[in-house]
């Protein structure tokens, strides 16, 4: 599924990478624990998290995920968004909570990582 479709499904606002929403997403890694994302992501997943500090983008970069969505309407500082732009990682924010996000994406056939 294209990131642009996910954006519509989850009513996201795009904070970085407006022009990179055509990326194809097959798998999702969802956690507020960065070590968990680092341990389970295999690269090119969609990362969903409630953690909005600079380490969330560093983790996204190191793990090699394709995009980051922040849940519960949590917005990162400008310097975090600028860092994501520098690393060319699309960043979106949705008002939805983690459980609902995962349910919607699961129903649409996206898979988790394990």
């Amino acid at each position: 599924m294209k990131l642009s479709e996910i954006k519509e499904l989850l009513q996201c606002e795009v904070l970085a990478g407006e022009d990179d929403l055509s990326v194809d997403i097959q798998q999702v890694v969802a956690s507020d624990g960065m070590s968990e994302i680092l341990a389970f992501a295999k690269s090119r997943e969609l990362m969903i998290t409630g953690l909005t500090n600079i380490q969330s983008i560093r983790t996204a970069d190191v793990a090699g995920v394709s995009a980051v969505i922040y849940c519960r309407g949590k917005r990162p500082d400008k310097k975090v968004i600028d860092f994501a732009k520098q690393k060319q990682i699309p960043v979106l924010v949705t008002p939805m909570v983690m459980f609902d996000i995962c349910g919607i994406l699961f129903n649409r056939g996206l898979k988790g990582v394990s």
Partner: protein
């Protein structure tokens, strides 16, 4: 015979500086990419570096990371001045953590760092002196030498 050294770099890590935490690993990623290291091995090494750097930031006063790349392997040694690890076997168990709530709010401190560093390494070793500091050594063998 020892393999030809392609690169040797040394980086400083500041303890307790959460704003900068991860900068060194970010630099290492760029350096390895410029060297032409393939994506899969690069990713493994950078995961090790990032978790090691976070541990220095969380637990120690300061540390250094030394990256040595040869034609055969990538070697990363992280040495810190800090409290040390009293029971290394225990620290290596998944889920064991002495991290504070503050560290957990930052997304770390679930006791998965050291096990994941070990998993991503072909050789992995921890040496520690309580009250003095800790050294963590990781080796990743490059293709054709695995």
């Amino acid at each position: 015979m020892t393999a030809m050294e392609l690169l040797r770099e040394c980086y400083e890590i500041q303890g307790k500086n959460f704003d900068k935490a991860g900068e060194v690993s970010g630099e290492i990623k760029v350096v390895l990419r410029d060297l032409g290291i393939d994506a899969a091995h690069l990713r493994r090494l950078v995961i090790v570096a990032f978790e090691a750097e976070m541990n220095v930031v969380m637990y120690a006063q300061r540390g250094t990371m030394t990256l040595i790349v040869t034609e055969e392997d990538i070697n990363l040694e992280t040495t810190d001045e800090g409290p040390g690890i009293p029971d290394i076997e225990l620290a290596l168990q998944e889920g064991y953590s002495t991290a504070s709530d503050e560290m957990r709010e930052m997304g770390f401190g679930f006791g998965m760092g050291l096990p994941n560093m070990k998993k991503n390494s072909d050789e992995f070793r921890i040496e520690s002196n309580v009250g003095k500091g800790t050294s963590v050594f990781s080796k990743i063998r490059l293709p054709a030498h695995e």
